[in-house]
């Protein structure tokens, strides 16, 4: 694997990150935001794997594992929060959760 490939892979990982970020900003439904978060995390995951492949160490994969754990934890908490919000306040649109402001 050469530097150019790594460069493009990193670009693509940044693209994934940016796409996820776009989803987070653009989507109002909570579930979509959670999906977007997953994509956001996929970006660095690709980045670590690509970097690890380029440099030839295990660190990249190890970091990927940690990212995976984080993603899982976040999804668990996020979905639980989504359900709780629906139950307590009956909302699924993030834009309506604005009781705390100013």
């Amino acid at each position: 694997m050469n530097a150019a490939t790594l460069s493009i892979l990193l670009l693509l990982s940044a693209g994934l990150f940016a796409t996820g970020f776009f989803g987070l900003l653009a989507r109002r439904a909570i579930l979509f935001q959670l999906i977007s978060l997953e994509l956001m995390l996929a970006g660095p995951a690709l980045g670590f794997i690509a970097g690890g492949a380029y440099h030839g160490g295990q660190t990249g994969q190890a970091m990927f594992v940690l990212i995976l754990i984080l993603a899982a934890a976040e999804v668990a908490l996020g979905l639980a929060l989504y359900l709780a919000l629906r139950r307590v306040a009956d909302v699924e649109d993030a834009d309506t959760i604005t009781r705390l402001r100013h």
């Binding site: 970020f21 900003l25 653009a26 993030a94 959760i97 604005t98 009781r99 705390l100 100013h102």
Partner: protein
């Protein structure tokens, strides 16, 4: 060996001690104790002054008693009392007059409550102490101390009747105007101090006389302005007539030997500095003679004895200032001594005659005086004669003649001054004799008095014809002095080290005639009903109803025709208008040339407007009241009315605070509460950081 001059310290001490005792009231004094204390404090200085004067007349007349010395960096301030011929003479006079006035006041004020009595005598004693301190001061600090203290006491004393708004207003007016003049004096004294690096008069005056030109002129002018204010000379004269709101003894003390005369004394004291500038000299002479003439003219048309005497004081002190301006301060001091005696006498006698009258101190209250209070009347006559300057037998003639001669001897310019002073002397005699003649008129018919009138007023006619010793002794002593004091004038002047000026025979003879001319004028004003009515009417602001047509035809009519012919006036005549004009002139003069109005327009109103503008009060309409003191009081009252407002800077601060609040409202709107907006912030922040990173590493 103790120097006899140490006695100097004892001169102002008794009245000061009396002030402290009366003011602090440590023993809860009774009426009798108060009177005794006051009398002791008032009389003692005279008896302390006597041996000092004896020493001084004995020839050794230069004593300095240091009080204490302050070190100011490189300069030294040595406070001291000084005994020299001038302070001896003036001190003796002041002590004597003070003693007389306080003695008189013991009886005069006997109907006041104990607390008021205590206050009155405490202040009178303090006043006396202040004047004595000033006279005997050996340095400018002590001098100014006494000078200012008098101003303070005059405020309290004039406002003695604290319930009377015009008394309080008169007190404030006196204090503010004299304080204004004092500011000039203070500036002059401080500049002198900086120039001479000493405050001691015996060092400072010679040093001051040899200053550089411009400094010298400034200082001399400042000192002159200070003196003019304190002495109620023309631009500053308005406070003095209003100050008559104080009790008679206060007026007697204020206007004869102390407060008012202090300005003249100061000029005489500092004459080596003031009078070495020809310009200042000319200004002083002009102001002096102008004031003298103006005061005399105004006095003629007064209907109130005390106001008449007040204008007389203005006029007489004008003579003193004139004398100083002519370069004869010794003559001024001579006139000072004589004036102190006859003026206090006049006040005391007039006060005694009018005491308790329901007409107050108006001229009418004088009527029947010869019958009611013969001693006082005789004393008044003596005083008036002295004031008018009846030749040879009165003291007033000698001193006034000295002034006139000094003027005559000054040269061609002096002759003009002499002429004006001569006319003034005639006017002086006119007003001096008016009350005397008025007293000959029958008493006005007895009107029923309001039950709430002065308690003593009811006893007016039951009073003894001869007053108690407290009244009689001062009157007799002062009357004697006013008559026989003339023999002292020449010794006084020569004691002070100057020649008695002598005029040629013609002017001297003319001057001697002046009192008699005045007497005729006074008689005309008193006994010619139309003129009396005019004077009267000018005050009541009503048209007189009865005119003596004869007088109108023989005197007024030709005069008016002459004027019309001279001015080629062909318009039809309006008798009312003529009369109006005449009355208006009299009114103008009797109101002190309406100087109060000028002050009102030039000083008070702008000041009040400024204050009002600054403190944001809303003004309300106030009737322009004829009498200026009331107007002054009202003006300041007006400034008070209105809500308690903030000043402008305050508003500025509050406005910026409000602006900040508006920014706050905008800033907090950023926090919309939507998580997507929050994330947008996150994204923008990240983007900014990335751009910075890219920018800093890109090359």
């Amino acid at each position: 060996m103790l120097s006899p001059y140490l006695l100097l310290l004892l001169v102002p001490s008794p009245p000061l001690a009396a002030f402290l005792m009366l003011g602090l009231d440590p023993f809860f004094l009774r009426r009798r104790a108060v009177q005794v204390l006051a009398l002791l404090g008032g009389v003692a200085p005279f008896f302390v002054m006597l041996p000092l004067a004896a020493v001084c007349f004995g020839g050794e007349c230069h004593g300095v008693v240091p009080v204490f010395t302050l070190a100011f960096g490189q300069s030294e301030v040595a406070l001291a009392l000084l005994l020299d011929p001038m302070s001896t003479l003036v001190g003796l006079t002041v002590a004597a007059v003070g003693a007389m006035v306080i003695t008189y006041a013991i009886d005069y004020m006997s109907d006041a409550g104990v607390a008021d009595l205590r206050r009155f005598f405490a202040l009178m004693n303090l006043f006396l102490a202040a004047m004595l301190t000033m006279v005997l001061a050996g340095d400018t600090i002590t001098f100014f101390f006494g000078w200012e203290l008098m101003g303070l006491c005059s405020f309290f004393l004039i406002a003695y009747n604290t319930g009377l708004p015009q008394a309080v207003a008169a007190g404030r007016k006196a204090f503010i105007i004299t304080r204004f003049a004092d500011a000039f004096l203070l500036a002059g004294l401080l500049l002198l101090f900086l120039e001479a690096n000493s405050v001691r008069l015996d060092v400072l005056i010679p040093a001051g006389a040899t200053m550089t030109e411009d400094r010298h002129l400034v200082i001399a002018l400042l000192l002159l302005a200070g003196a003019l204010g304190k002495s109620a000379q023309v631009p500053f004269h308005t406070w003095l007539p209003s100050a008559m709101a104080g009790p008679t003894p206060v007026s007697a003390l204020l206007h004869s030997a102390t407060m008012v005369a202090a300005g003249a004394f100061m000029l005489a004291r500092f004459s080596p500095i003031v009078m070495s500038e020809p310009l200042v000299q000319a200004i002083a002479a002009a102001f002096g003679v102008g004031t003298a003439a103006f005061g005399a003219l105004s006095a003629i048309f007064q209907t109130d004895v005390k106001r008449l005497l007040a204008y007389s004081s203005i006029s007489q002190i004008g003579f003193m200032v004139l004398a100083v301006g002519l370069g004869a301060p010794e003559v001024a001091i001579g006139h000072f001594v004589v004036h102190a005696m006859f003026k206090s006498l006049l006040f005391l006698a007039a006060g005694d005659i009018t005491h308790g009258s329901d007409l107050g101190t108006s001229m009418k209250a004088m009527r029947g005086a010869a019958r009611r209070r013969p001693v006082a009347y005789v004393a008044y006559v003596a005083g008036a004669a002295s004031l008018a300057g009846v030749p040879f037998i009165t003291a007033g003639w000698w001193s006034k003649e000295a002034v006139l001669s000094a003027a005559w001897n000054t040269g061609p310019f002096g002759i003009a001054i002499w002429a004006l002073a001569f006319l003034t002397a005639i006017c002086t005699a006119v007003y001096a004799f008016r009350p005397v003649l008025e007293a000959l008129l029958p008493e006005p018919e007895h009107r029923s008095r309001a039950p709430h009138g002065h308690p003593l007023a009811l006893n007016l006619h039951h009073r003894a014809r001869i007053g108690s010793g407290f009244i009689t002794v001062p009157l007799v002593v002062l009357a004697t002095g006013s008559m026989l004091g003339g023999v002292m004038v020449a010794p006084i002047i020569s004691f002070l080290g100057a020649e008695v000026p002598h005029a040629p025979h013609l002017p001297a003879l003319l001057a001697a005639m002046a009192p008699f001319a005045g007497l005729i004028g006074a008689a005309a004003l008193t006994f010619v009903p139309s003129l009396a009515a005019a004077v009267e009417g000018a005050h009541d602001m009503r048209r007189p109803t009865r005119l003596d047509h004869k007088f109108q035809i023989w005197v007024i009519e030709p005069y008016i025709r002459l004027i019309r012919w001279l001015s080629r006036d062909r318009r039809p005549r309006d008798a009312d208008l003529d009369f109006e004009r005449q009355v208006r002139l009299i009114r103008w003069l009797s109101r002190g040339a309406r100087m109060d109005g000028v002050y009102q327009a030039l000083v008070v109103r702008p000041f009040v407007n400024l204050v009002r503008w600054l403190s944001g009060h809303r003004g309300g309409g106030v009737d322009p009241v004829g009498s200026a003191p009331v107007a002054l009081a009202l003006r300041l009252t007006q400034a008070v009315v209105g809500p308690l407002a903030h000043d402008r800077f305050d508003r500025f601060w509050m406005r910026s605070a409000n602006r900040l609040v508006r920014i706050w409202v905008m800033a907090r709107a950023i926090q919309t509460g939507r998580s997507r907006d929050y994330a947008l912030g996150l994204a923008l922040g990240t983007a900014a950081l990335l751009v910075i990173a890219w920018g800093t590493t890109w090359n």
